[in-house]
Amino acid sequence: MNAFLTVLRLLLFPGGLFLLVVGLFYQWFARKLLALLQNRIGPRWFQPFADTLKLLAKEEIVPDGVNPYLFIGLPVVALAGTLTAALYVPIAGLAPSYGFPGDLIVVLYLLSLLTLCTGLAGANTLDRFSLIGATRTLTQLFAYEAPFLLAMLGPAVMAGSWQIGAITEYARSHWLILTQPLGFIVAVVGLMGKLEMPPFDAPEAHTEIVAGALTEYSGRGLGLFNLGRAVELVVGLTLVSAVYLGGFASPLSFLAKSGAILFVLVGIQALLTRLRIDQTVGLWWRYGTLVVLAQWFVMIVVWR
């Protein structure tokens, strides 16, 4: 009975299907909000679902010159990585399904697994656009990873633990956005870099390199990558809002807080132009790192 319940929780709620549905719903929310900010109507609520179903039903064309196992396998690994990362974060306001000391690092790297798979998928093909997209994806990964990691580790130091469950418990009584505002800013902007949202969407700048690393993907592979992105959106939002916005008391609070951060992300997306990849790296390595190090300095001085 226990095993059956575990499987149900993994596949349906709060893992698996629930994650996919919530991820696509959040994608719809982002697109709709962006449209309203741009004074137009956006897609209807079922658009991301319809897109995913259509992609899964279409033919997958494997181009010449690729390693077919990598080509077919990478989307699956990417989606699996993000779904696994969701096991350790408090999805839907419930306590994380599993946890162990140090799972913060594991979650962050599982989320990066999606980016790595995208980069590898782009490097796997002979297409010019994919190669440039892959290079940019990996460059951007190196750029935002360090500041984002430091911004997430600041609260861990304050909470005295590297386990997400413990951090969220601590955050429930101490709203870290108030005590570590700079870290919050870096975390939010870093999340945009991780999700490759504009203005950090140089890796998939479609007016320059068509679709970046995923140019050659179609059908099922593209559908799985998109699902991986959707789940990454949920997991990333959950992580940042759980750590900085005071944990989740209930599913409603989960929706409200992660929705609020998504609102901020989309607002920034509407206001800013896409940055070139060298400007992105420059911004992160100059300002991002400095800001988060300043936050750490303040935290250490104040704490001690």
Binding site: R40, R128, P199, A202, T207, E208, T273, R274, R276, I277
Partner: protein, 399 residues
């Protein structure tokens, strides 16, 4: 432009199908990392044989054929054609007609610059500016629709004048629309010149000095942004421009930001000229009659389209069909500058530099016969030979 690019290190093909291009054209950029080292352009994807087709239609039908050379500058093409044919027939269109032609031309310039602003913002990844500037462009298209009867391809001209009049009610609604557009244009000038992130994409990118612009033969706002004082409405005024003069907008910086600002300032100039025309529109009839057979002769007219100088050569042999019609549009003058300027820039700047000249590929696809010096006669093919050549070419490709 070399005929065959050497398959060097890393060639990025942009076009004929690419999200950066709104119309088909083929570019090949050789990149080293992200820096462009060589560029090559190939056109011809939008060639429709308009110049040849014009020889088989009578003068009145050609007016509408030439209007459809381009969708954004359609009125300028019809306007140039009318001026050329009227010159051949030694007929002057009445003053009110010329004023209305200039009015529609300036409204078209406003529409074209708003369109261009949105497209360039989209190339930069600034989708919000794209959406807002195209929303405001709808206002000028509605004005044109209620004035002329259609949103594009206005069909305002006829040989010898214009088709419709501007009455007081329409003048009032045009003024209202202009107030709205001027307000928005001020806002966009503020955005384009102050937004720090957008400036990072446009300041210092694609710098073209005045000497370079003059050597490469750049025209239009692209040249004026490099301080080349070339605006046909000022240096060679035609139609009603002597009565309603335009001030030239120049900028000394020569980079992308200068091109943006020149076009917005031109918007203000166009709005001012339209208001002037509405205030003091000359009274006269709307058209004069033109003969069906235009006397033999040749005429060359040059007009200032939103993108630059457009040149029309019309030759008549006294019949009711033209003998030869040649259209030279501004984009083909400016494309050379793109090919030279992108070298040394990053790949991400390439769509911006291309958008900076406001390319219109369907305007510029004309057939040019090139004879290679020292290699004898140019290759002439009859229609049957050309058809066979095409069939064999594709048969070989599909093997």
């Amino acid at each position: 432009m070399e005929p065959n690019p050497v398959p060097a290190s890393f060639n990025i093909p942009i076009g004929p199908q690419h999200p950066a291009l709104k119309e088909p054209g083929h570019f090949q950029f050789t990149v080293d990392g992200e820096i462009v080292t060589r560029a090559y352009v190939r056109l011809g994807y939008a060639h429709r044989g308009i110049e040849k087709a014009a020889e088989e239609r009578n003068w009145i039908q050609d007016l509408y054929l030439l209007e459809r050379v381009c969708g954004i500058c359609s009125h300028i093409h019809a306007f140039s054609y009318c001026l050329a044919v009227e010159q051949l027939a030694n007929v002057q269109a009445p003053p009110r007609a010329q004023a209305i032609r200039v009015l529609v031309a300036e409204l078209e310039r406003i529409h074209s610059h708003f369109l261009w602003m949105g497209v360039s913002a989209h190339e930069a990844g600034f989708d919000t500016l794209f959406m807002y500037s195209w929303r405001d462009r709808e206002r000028v298209m509605d004005m044109l629709e209620s004035l002329t009867g259609n949103r594009v391809n206005y069909s305002a001209n006829i040989l010898g004048g214009v088709k419709f009049d501007v009455d007081a009610a329409q003048a009032a609604s045009i003024r209202l629309g202009l107030d709205f557009l001027e307000d928005r244009a001020h806002h966009y000038l503020n955005v384009l010149s102050k937004d720090a992130m957008f400036l990072q994409r446009t300041r210092g990118i694609g710098v073209m000095t005045r000497a370079q612009a003059e050597v490469m033969g750049a025209v239009g706002p692209t040249a004026r942004a490099s301080n080349v004082p070339r605006d046909l409405r000022v240096i060679a005024p035609y139609a009603a421009y002597p009565q309603f003069p335009v001030h030239m907008v120049l900028d000394t910086r020569g980079d992308l930001q200068a091109r943006f600002e020149v076009r917005i300032q031109e918007l203000f100039e166009s709005i001012r000229v339209i208001r002037l025309i509405l205030d003091s529109m000359p009274e006269s009839e709307l058209s004069v009659s033109m003969p069906r057979r235009i006397p033999a002769g040749e005429a060359v007219v040059r007009l200032e389209a939103p993108r630059g100088e457009v040149l029309y050569f019309v030759k008549s042999n006294g019949t009711d069909k033209p003998a030869r019609l040649k259209v030279r549009t501004p984009t083909i003058c400016n494309l050379n500058s793109v090919v030279r300027l992108v070298i040394g820039h990053q790949l991400a700047d390439v769509p911006m530099i291309l958008a900076g000249i406001d390319p219109c590929f369907s305007c510029n696809d004309r057939m040019v016969q090139v004879s290679r010096v020292g290699q004898g006669d140019p290759q002439d093919m009859s229609w049957a030979e050309l058809r066979n050549y095409g069939i064999n070419y594709y048969r070989r490709l599909s093997k």
